[in-house]
Subunit: 307 residues, 4 copies
């Protein structure tokens, strides 16, 4: 149950079978830093390359293919006072005719007030002069080394996780990932100070962070797609295009979860989800879109379903 | 400002330029009944045909093409004690391989306790023996006569509204529809006692309802897709396949709304939506899927944006 | 077996249960004129309204819901010397980023040389100064009154046919449509002097035509989607978005055809199609995209499969 | 201009920055063997693992990132007398409801008559008793090491090529791939004795092959997606889901090609493609679907456009 303070010096643009940056044991906590999406660290120095340079990988001792890696995000906070976004909606979230009429996108700076817990545009358009938003930290890209020895770009995502850009991945959540390689090899980075659904401007408020996380292994438990749990909900994440297929992956994974841990057969789970399911559009920007299939714990309890 | 108690005797399976069932004036309230999706009324008698027989159309005096019809759902309540759903997830919401393994779907009965404000399965599977859910009424299908003199099946949806199956269409919401025909010709039906996101079993809890609504006309205001507003939020609805395109339509319509009523140009609206937007997956079952693009009024106020 | 020369005076922007323009008997041939997509006739006079004004409907005596209407295109030829197209690729056929960089689209004129059987741009860009193409006539929009009493815009398509913009619908083809209304109510229009796959500039070479067609009824034969047959091939047409779903509809309809007329069960048809099928992308521009699933008669013969 | 006879002993399930199997020079020809999709060689022995074990990589001396690798398929022939397919259509090529009714898929054996140049089912269903098809060899999976140091599964495809399953990749075609790594690192495998459009049963007729290919480098020429050329046509390949996006990638790449090599600006290329383009559905089975955008050389010549 060690706590490691890990200072990264090498960063990766793929999730793959890279040399472990640190070996840790189940139960251990790591406190580490992440770069922003374009490689800037806490000082603003560019020390990594695009896209989304990752901290890690962390080898978790004892994790074997077929197991599940559980990662609890203990806390996360930006470690600098500035972030950035793009200035216009991505062309794939508006009608194609409208996309052609949008102004050109620029990189825009934000001020992060860590004491106040807020963010605001540095040079806001007039209409947003007084606009101050609560800080809402999230991890844009995290996951494990994929199946088949693949090394997959941090621009995209898959069953191994990756660039899912889901605002639900934040402090207090426990994520689960399928383990494909000995040691699982966990990566993280691309954290955002805030982001709406869908990452529709193509970024959250991109900045560097300090993140603390704890790992565990579920030996012999095999899952198909990333899963998460927090105080209110359980959720699964499906990654694909179009959104329809991402939703299919997430729903299928939730069926498996309800079957194994909540003793719901296909009809029981259908009744339950049909009346209670919530879908979150995590991102509609990356090469693979991401959808979360979410169930409230209150609904599980109401159904007498406890894991 | 009359209140009409309208008892329907004819029902329509298309939204189109049908003979008005009742002419009403702006400001008028109508209290009327709707059949369930398969045509059963409050007594359970089958008096309409599939799919989704509609009550109406209501001709709103003075509405002209290019105007907007506003419909406030004042209240809605089931008028019988039973509803029904399908028993398994639709094949298009799970992975194709999994869809092939699902049991055959059956129609399943639910008990609606109107006094307690709850719903429950009549013959629940063991696991859901004690499952009782809050009643959560919504209108599955409503809208106006479409453009070009079209008459479009109540199974699907479009810019005119129709079978959007969005759980956000409930008492307290004010909907807006583009007017394509003199008098607008408003239809409603296919109400549900409850439904999760996506209508993923292919139904909500289908039953007959009494609905009270009030109409207004926004003269000379032209919109592109259905919109809504309640105490907490404003939202737009896009209808198409795949989900990606439904989301594009909804987002584009929200851009137009923010531009006209909240004085946000494309960059301002992009900044605002990029950090605050929420998407709801209304349905992923019908021939056209529906996505709501939703903005919290709290976020509009924080941005100093008041309509 | 009458031959009717029908001069249309009224045109429709929907396929629906409209007043018949002419009643004809099975075996009859009709020679009639069609307007171009924007309503211009042989003289260039605008006598119909957008989109795609239709000639018809032709009521076929004896056709009943559940039957199949067969329409053989006997011959078709432009009846004027000019046509037009749009000047740039539609935004939905190129990458969204690229779409934003395309020039604005304009309407561009073409010269149709009916004697030579060729088409050419009136004012070609330098690079295409000497470009002369063979005339390749096709019907962009044809079909029958849809199910449920619907009236559906001639901009889109469905099981009833409509705006499929398939270059395979030309002289020598026999089309089949499901009959949904007594008399079937056949419409046609929106003919093109030429068009590549996909109608990717949003038009073919739009012009007015004279078309001769003969009708027959297959009593008691029920089909799900439009089908066609010519000297070389049989094909089915699926209409939907995304292309994936259009392809699913077309393939499913071909399975039904091979099952009923060629005695192929699901495995037999799978073996056969797996090695021989061809798909044509009819249009990727309209609200519903269209895909043809095509099988060569030579392949059917090789498999000993004759209808 | 050496000719190498290369006997592979190691196979790869990813296209990535693997140790070169052989270094060759521009102009060199390689004659080598490929395994079938499940790893069986000419003797039927299983010497590679699923999916689609690749022969290679071949390092091409002098190829640098930003160059283009050209690979001419000189000849290809099966090197054993048996192949196999799956027995039913994939669930994603028919309507979801129909997919649920298809029989379970089995692996089915085919006889390859190399002398006669034909293929036939070993145990055909009655209806296909006499069905004999011409041998039509093609390469299912080929490409180069991807960008960013990625290693990507041979089940899928991308800008680097991969599992495109296009029946147009056969003897006589010259393929072009973007070079992302020094030496390009060319892989090939998963050849088919025959296949219809779309690889709709999830396989072609899978067997092992001998393939001869020659490599060249286009120094300083940068392309975005795989391209091809044979005696009749030039084509580009786009890989993505849904088919719509694959088609967008392929069309955008063709625009670039017509611009650079045929001096066509956006409007000129739009006119040209609008009337002449053909799309082939390469596969609708793999995680990324593949579409070919194809232009006949006859059409280029007619337009006075010669590269």
């Amino acid at each position: 149950m060690a706590e490691h303070r890990f200072q990264p010096t090498r960063f990766h643009n793929t999730l793959g079978p890279h040399e472990p940056a640190l070996s840790i044991a189940p139960g251990d906590t790591v406190v580490t830093d992440t770069l922003d999406a374009w490689g800037a660290d806490a000082t603003g120095a560019i020390v990594g390359t695009r896209p989304n340079p990752m901290t890690g990988p962390f080898l978790v001792e004892g994790a074997e293919p077929g197991d599940t890696l559980r990662v609890t995000i203990e806390r996360m906070a930006p470690n600098r006072d500035r972030g950035w976004t793009f200035s216009v909606l991505a062309p794939n979230v508006v009608d194609p005719q409208r996309a052609a009429q949008m102004p050109e996108r620029e990189r825009v700076e934000w001020i992060i007030d860590r004491d106040a817990g807020t963010v605001r545009l540095e040079n806001p358009p007039t209409r947003l002069r007084d606009w101050v938003l609560p800080l809402a930290p999230m991890i844009g890209c995290c996951g494990v080394a994929p199946a088949l020895g693949q090394a997959i770009s941090t621009a995209t995502s898959g069953p191994h996780g990756g660039n899912m850009d889901y605002r639900g991945i934040t402090a207090g959540v426990t994520l689960s990932f399928p383990v494909f390689r000995p040691g699982a090899l966990f990566f993280l980075g691309d954290c955002h100070a805030c982001q709406g659904d869908g990452e529709i401007v193509g970024t959250g408020i991109e900045t560097s962070f300090e993140v603390a996380f704890t790992v565990e292994i579920d030996k012999g438990r095999t899952i198909g797609w990333p899963r998460g749990e927090n105080a209110e909900s359980i959720f699964t994440l499906g990654n694909a295009r179009p959104l329809d297929q991402a939703l299919q992956h997430a729903t299928t994974e939730m069926l498996d979860w309800l079957s194994r841990d909540y003793a719901m057969d296909a009809v029981t789970a259908s009744h339950f989800l049909g009346q209670t399911v919530r879908y979150d559009v995590a991102n509609v920007f990356n090469p693979a879109y991401s959808v979360a299939c979410r169930v409230a714990k209150e609904d599980l309890e109401r159904a007498g379903a406890t894991a």
